[in-house]
Amino acid sequence: MANARDKNYEFVRREDAPILPPPATEAGITGWLWQNIFVSMADYTSIGAGIRSLLMAILSALILYFGGTQIYALIDFTIFSAVFSDPEGIKREACWTVDQGGVLPSGWHGACWPFVVAKQKFLLYGAYPAEDLWRVNLTGLVGLVGMVWVMIEQLPYRREVGAAMLSLYPLMAFILLTGGNSDAEFSNIGIWLVIGLAIISAGRLGKRGFLGPTFAEFATLIGFTGWVFLIFNAVRGVAAVDFGLEPIDTRDWGGLLITLVVAITGIVASLPLGIILALGRRSEMPVARLLSTIFIEFWRGIPLITVLFMASVMLPLFMPEGVNFDNLLRALIGVMLFSAAYMAEVIRGGLQAIDKGQYEGAQAMGLSYWQTMRLVILPQALTHVIPGIVNTFIGLFKDTTLVSIVGIFDLLGAAQSTIADPSWSSHVQALSVYVYVALLFFVFCFGMSRYSIYMENKLSKSRSH
């Protein structure tokens, strides 16, 4: 006891302990390198750990070497060794080596950019008449401005701009690109408009309960169908007006224009269609559930190539004679329905993640089924599955290349046909244009991917702790 009392345990800190900078392994570039790379290969405390560290080191070196050489090869091909201009207008000879009769050193390997530049118009617009390109450019420009406007949060009227982009813009794009002035007859369109109005009125009456309780349950859906009818025929009507633009057959469209038209139509249409299908598949109404399930399983069960073939080769065989249905439109509808089925399953996944209490909370306050879905369930379900939705978008964007199977020249199809031009024939002709096409695809897909990550972060920040 005495011993313990002799010891002096008294301790009072008189100065603050200094705040020290972190060790090199924790901060800065060295810290980052250490934590992300070297820490996995620095443990030699036992034989097992030593072997593992050694293997990690060797593997890292190999990856570094092969990755590095690949990336260097790409940069070398596209920039350092590339031919950028053809001032004398000698076309293919600008990209020939001395062995082939040109001026470039033997064994030269680089991109032949003058070729891509010369084919630029074809790659972007296909055979669209040169004097009407402003129509495509205007459509693209308005689309771009509208999209960026909606994406930047600081700008005013975002909601209105977004609504216009989804309603007026497609109409404008349709008229500008095709030229309008279709041969649909106004009397015919008028009849369909009246039918649409009749369906909407039936829906209204049903909603008020005049047509019996069973009917009331379907009233919203009937009203919706009526609106689809009405809008579709209104668009047909506007498209039949002569705006003084030269009609341009979709067979002359091509390149990036086709890729964007197919992809954007597919993307914009697949989301609402997918939502309706997903809701249908989870509905308590057996008919809606059965129809949605059959639809989804049917379209998921066949490859897109088959869909496109059916649409362009088989469908005309079943059509009455004289009915001429645009080839691009058929492919578009095929792509839309196909992607809607995939989208439906992604969204169904999101719906399943929503707690039953959310439905009950909304119902107990008197919200209707559609209000519950629109205001409570879907905003949450869609946020949950943003990565899946964007995944489907990106997949769809790349799948548009399949339309070249049915004679529609998308970006890749256009690229392929430029290779057949003998006046630019050289050993790097194909590679140059493919690298260019790959780059364009990458820019679009990577852009979508980044925007989705940004959206996820934004939404998760505003909604949780």
Binding site: G209, P213, A216, E217, D355, G357, Q358, E360, G361, A362, Q363, A364, M365, G366, L367, S368, Q371, L375, V376, P379, Q380, T383, S462, R463, S464, H465
Partner: protein, 257 residues
């Protein structure tokens, strides 16, 4: 003591709810067995009973979150049947507070409270917000209005849920174990809110095991077991002098721990 004094009871003759010979099955399982219950305007009823006895099912039948198969239920003279219009009308007048709050996590507290008034009652946004702030002040959390539910404590969330229901200005409130999911220190704040509501004369049906609350505000305590109403009485008589053996057993279990 003054605080012990029971809140003043103003029960009118007006019948709020009448359930006659109500039966309900889940598949082959008979979950509600011959329920007969009349609730008058201004009454405050506490339902208790063992887990699985059908308490939640009973009150969820009152706003058609569950469908009964036999018997009749009238709420404010409107019969609950397959007619969607009746159900819409009843849900407008009957508020419900759940065990797990069921707030909408993607909306702010204020938006949670104004959603139904705007979309169901078709109220202008400004008016709905004014009313929402009034009720949020009443449950003592007006300062949280612009936060999201995930940023609030359990007790605060449940008070928001109560305010959200009140924004629809209901004539009857249903509570399904509103304090069972809360940490002990938050139970009081929610019960206090409910006591205040009772003092203002709201008709309430409340599933809870908070016996202090039952003694303080209830006009009638109902004991359920195996889908039946086994016993009902005024709180003092119910707790001090239970009649059936099942009630005695149940009370001994919840009071002696």
């Amino acid at each position: 003591m003054a605080s012990k004094a029971k809140t003043k009871t103003v029960i009118s003759d007006e019948v709020m709810i009448s359930m006659e010979n109500v039966n309900k099955w889940y598949g082959t399982f008979h979950v509600l067995r011959d329920i007969n219950l009349t609730v008058h305007k201004g009454e405050r009823i506490v339902i208790c009973g063992p887990s699985g006895s059908g308490k939640s099912t009973l009150i969820r039948c009152l706003n058609r979150l569950e469908e009964h198969q036999d018997g009749t239920i009238n709420v404010q003279g409107i019969e609950i049947n397959n007619d969607l219009k009746n159900i819409d009308e009843i849900r407008r007048d009957v508020g419900m507070v759940f065990q797990h709050f069921n707030l909408f996590p993607h909306l702010t507290i204020l938006e949670n409270c104004t959603l139904a008034p705007i979309w169901v009652r078709k109220m202008p946004k400004a008016e709905a917000e004014e009313i929402a702030m009034e009720y949020l002040t009443r449950v003592k959390i007006p300062e949280q209005a612009l936060k999201y539910p995930g940023q609030l404590s359990g007790g605060q969330q449940q008070r928001v849920a109560i305010a959200r229901s009140l924004c629809m200005e209901p004539k009857l409130m249903l509570f399904d174990e509103p304090t069972s999911a809360l940490d002990p220190e938050m139970i009081k704040e929610v019960l206090d809110t409910m006591v205040e509501l009772a003092e203002d004369g709201m008709s309430m049906i409340c599933v809870t095991h908070e016996m202090g609350f039952a003694r303080k505000v209830a006009n009638r305590v109902i004991f359920m077991d195996e889908g039946q109403i086994v016993e009902q009485n005024e709180p003092e008589a119910f707790f001090n002098n239970p009649q059936s053996d099942r009630t005695k057993l149940f009370l001994s279990q919840i009071l002696d721990h």
